[in-house]
């Protein structure tokens, strides 16, 4: 039961009883001894995936983590899973690079405050204390999940190594039509050093950040060009090369839009799963 659009009511923090988060999803996992965090060397490599060494977080009190846990259940768990391990429309936070790199809430806090509107995450107006409690909970969950062995959800880079790079190259240069816009030695040179694993695959299938470009002609004959910042049925807003924002009612202009991602959407109805894995294997060679 997932609802794509999220409506999250932020109620006051509720003092939670001790929540150890022994949710049944975790019951099949190896038991953990509280207070004993294995060193990176002790962790079996197949559970670590691409996560690297254990992150260094600020110290939080159990009370902060408990309080954050209650807030998490109300506001975040529907998308990110009760244990922050993902499963909804929201990703696994225990495998998040942003969470790993966060020491004291500076990165996580910014995401909570600003949301990720392009990905459907709303802004949350929570107090600094509440945000810090949430951060404490998320870090606790990451530490717990990175310390355990086996039964991890999520996608490891090794899971994605099923394709054939040669077949992928053929598809890329042939029926995939990828070379109409891309070049392995041009715009895609070094792409596999910039992105890896699932991130690379998602970027390959749909480059979310690719901006639509617009050339606008007003009724008085002026011409503007820039990247599209806002577009609906009634209004077009662009930012020009000097950073100035302009907007017009659609009725006042003629606009030519260049949407480079549309070719990727068209490709989605043509790909087989094998094509995807093969092209990914090829792209992974572009280091």
């Amino acid at each position: 039961m997932r609802l794509r659009s999220r409506n999250i009511l932020l109620a006051a923090a509720v003092a939670a009883p001790v929540m150890l988060f022994t949710f049944s999803r975790m019951t099949a996992q190896a038991p953990q001894t509280p207070g004993q965090r294995p060193t990176p060397a002790q962790r079996p490599s197949w559970t670590v995936g691409s996560q690297g060494p254990l992150p260094e977080h600020a110290k939080f009190t159990p009370l902060q983590a408990e309080s954050g846990g209650a807030l998490f259940i109300q506001n975040c768990a529907f998308c990110h899973g009760k244990d922050a391990g993902g499963g909804e429309t929201g990703p696994d936070l225990t495998r998040s690079k942003l969470v790993t790199g966060d020491k004291n809430g500076e990165a996580i806090g910014a995401v909570i405050r600003n949301g990720r509107l392009d990905k459907g995450m709303p802004r949350f107006s929570l107090s600094d204390t509440e945000i810090l409690n949430l951060v404490a909970f998320i870090h606790t969950q990451q530490d717990a999940s990175m310390s355990q062995s086996g039964n991890r959800r999520g996608v490891d880079e090794s899971d994605l190594h099923t394709g054939n790079a040669d077949a992928g190259k053929k598809y890329f240069e042939g029926p995939g039509g990828c070379t109409q816009c891309h070049s392995a030695t041009g715009d895609l040179a070094g792409i596999a050093s910039k992105f890896s694993g699932l991130r690379l695959e998602m970027q390959m299938l749909y480059p979310r950040d690719a901006k639509t470009k617009a050339t606008v002609k007003t009724k008085s004959g002026q011409t503007f060009a820039g990247t599209v910042e806002y577009e609906d049925e009634f209004t077009l807003g662009i930012r020009d090369s000097s950073g100035i924002y302009h907007s017009w009612p659609m009725t006042a202009i003629t606009a030519k839009l260049d949407k480079p991602v549309e070719a990727h959407v068209t490709a989605m109805s043509k790909y087989t799963d094998d094509d995807i894995h093969n092209v990914l294997a090829y792209i992974q060679t572009l280091k």
Partner: protein, 530 residues
């Protein structure tokens, strides 16, 4: 009622603040079957789920003049997903942990009930229901409460599902005869889905229909939660509810077969809860595609013969027309990109393609987990024969490997791309007659009116009034926030209102009063003459 429940009721009653008294409400079964023009008595307005208003004052010729009657600021965080109900000039609507009664003429608050927050998910609240002088409200932790419609005071409180086990509630109860019909959400955990009939006076359970065997039964699916308001045909005396997806959600290997009655449309006897027929839009679902979308009831010609139909635009991307007397399929078609099937079987059910089950290296799936459509209400316009649904063409990647286990979500999926489009489906052919782009992905439901209008919202927060015949925009206004509820319409003092929500604000739209006769010209006086 044990002492714990009594204590909860006392606490809750104290939380309601009454600012004025109301007239006694008198919503009875006859009214629910045939709602007056000055009302919107349940989630769908009437039992059919068509969300089609018979009102014509606002129509294709004058809608361009629609203007704001009032706006009500809830002053709360969150986005309104509730359908307001209207009885005796009073509107009632909700956010999680909040219920308001406001004057439908002015938008002034009569009372506000702030329920004690719970630790359950606060993903949404779809509204209250009314019978006689009581409102029925589901708390986020899956209790059913009866509120005094005049004051908002809690009269009784019963637990519908145990939130500690992972269930929660968002639904607006369906009231049929002497039954308050409720279910609960929850597929993060392996739980048994159900629909329950509760006595409106006492809160006592009358019957329970379970979607699946008990959760200790091996090699079967669990869940099949019922979390959307169903529909009712008084003539056939059947209630129709869609059930949610099975769990473990993305791991289908541990639950072979069709997984009845998950992702299923059920026809039940409201007196006994006995199953009369079923139709399964998603046999053996492994993509989280609940079939809870509104089962819309309409009568009309099909293949030249008058038929009693049930229509569903299902989350899995298929549109179904079913004979609602017996559950036999009349039409199955898709209404957007769908790539997870090998076709349709002789009974009109999609045949899942095993190669499109979530896999360790990922599978590209259309639609995505949010589905081609979702809880947002569609509308059926009998005049044009159009079933109008807010749709989301989309693609995503689905993963599952043995290490993901057999509990709850049991896998991972990642949305790649989606957009919003309003599709007008001709029910006789399944063909899309017109499509109206809504931006990236919209969340608003749809209302059609006999005035030839279709009301909805786009992805960027514009309220839209379209010409139902063509899909062309005739009026729009910015809401300043996400539009996540479904519009309603009613008549007050002889004038038609359209109610829409944007963010946490409720907006009432109407035509402006006829302009007053121009004042007689006054003779300028010396003092004012220059």
């Amino acid at each position: 009622m044990n002492w714990k429940k009594s204590a909860r009721v006392l606490t809750l009653a104290a939380a309601a603040t009454v600012t004025t008294g109301l007239n006694a409400q008198n919503v009875d079964s006859a009214m629910l079957k045939n709602p007056p023009r000055d009302s919107w008595l349940g989630y769908h307005g009437d039992y059919s789920g068509r969300r089609h208003s018979a009102l014509t004052e606002i129509n294709t010729r004058n809608v361009s003049g629609l203007s704001l009657g009032w706006a009500f600021q809830t002053q709360q965080n969150g986005v309104l997903k509730a359908t307001p109900i209207l009885a005796d000039g009073i509107l009632y609507f909700t956010l999680p942990d909040h219920v308001w009664a406001i004057d439908a003429r002015s938008g002034h608050q009569l009372w506000h009930y702030a329920a004690p927050p719970t630790k359950a998910f606060h993903i949404g609240q779809r509204g209250v229901s009314i019978l006689k002088d009581k409102l029925y409200y589901m708390t986020s932790d899956a209790h059913l409460q009866a509120l005094d419609a005049k004051t908002g005071n809690v009269l009784w409180d019963v637990e519908v599902a145990d939130s500690k086990k992972g269930q929660w509630a968002t639904m607006s109860p369906l009231i049929v005869g002497n039954h308050v019909l409720v279910g609960a959400s929850g597929d993060f955990d392996n739980l048994q889905g159900f629909l329950r009939a509760v006595d409106p006076d006492t809160g006592k359970t009358q019957w329970t229909f379970y979607s699946t065997p008990t959760v200790d039964t091996p090699r079967v699916a669990y869940s099949g939660n019922m979390w959307m308001t169903g529909t009712y045909d008084p003539e056939l005396n059947l209630i129709y509810f869609g059930t949610g997806n099975p769990s473990p959600v993305l791991n289908g290997k541990v639950r072979p077969g069709d997984n009845l009655y998950t992702c299923t449309i059920l026809a039940l006897d409201p007196e006994t809860g006995k199953l009369v027929w079923h139709f399964q839009p998603s046999p053996h679902d492994t993509h989280d595609w609940d079939a809870v979308e509104i089962p819309v009831l309409a009568d009309g010609l099909f293949d030249g013969k008058p038929r009693k139909m049930l229509m569903q635009a299902s989350r899995n991307g298929y549109f179904f027309v079913i004979d609602r007397t017996n559950g036999k399929n009349m039409l199955t078609t898709t209404f957007g990109p769908v790539n997870w099937t090998k076709g349709v079987d002789k009974d009109g059910r999609p045949i899942p393609n095993p190669d499109k089950e979530p896999a360790p290296d990922g599978r590209l799936i259309a639609p995505d987990e949010g589905g081609m459509t979702n809880y947002r209400s569609p509308s059926f316009d009998p005049k044009t024969g159009l079933f109008i649904v807010s749709a989301s063409p989309s693609y995503s990647l689905y993963f599952n490997k043995p290490a993901d286990g057999a509990y709850g979500w049991a896998g991972a999926d990642y949305g790649l791309w989606s957009k919003g489009v309003l599709d007008a489906i001709d029910y006789k052919t399944g063909k899309i007659r017109w499509s109206h782009e809504l931006g990236q992905r919209a969340g608003s439901g749809v209302l059609t009116t006999e005035g030839g209008l279709t009301f909805t919202g786009d992805a960027t927060g514009n309220f839209l009034a379209l010409d139902t015949a063509t899909g062309k925009t005739l009026w729009h206004a910015g809401a300043g926030g996400q539009i996540a509820s479904s519009p309603i319409s009613y008549e007050l003092d002889g004038h038609q209102y359209i109610l829409t929500s944007g963010g946490n604000v409720m907006f009432a739209w109407r035509l402006p009063e006829a302009p007053a006769a121009p004042a007689a010209k006054r003779t300028p006086t010396a003092a004012t003459t220059k």
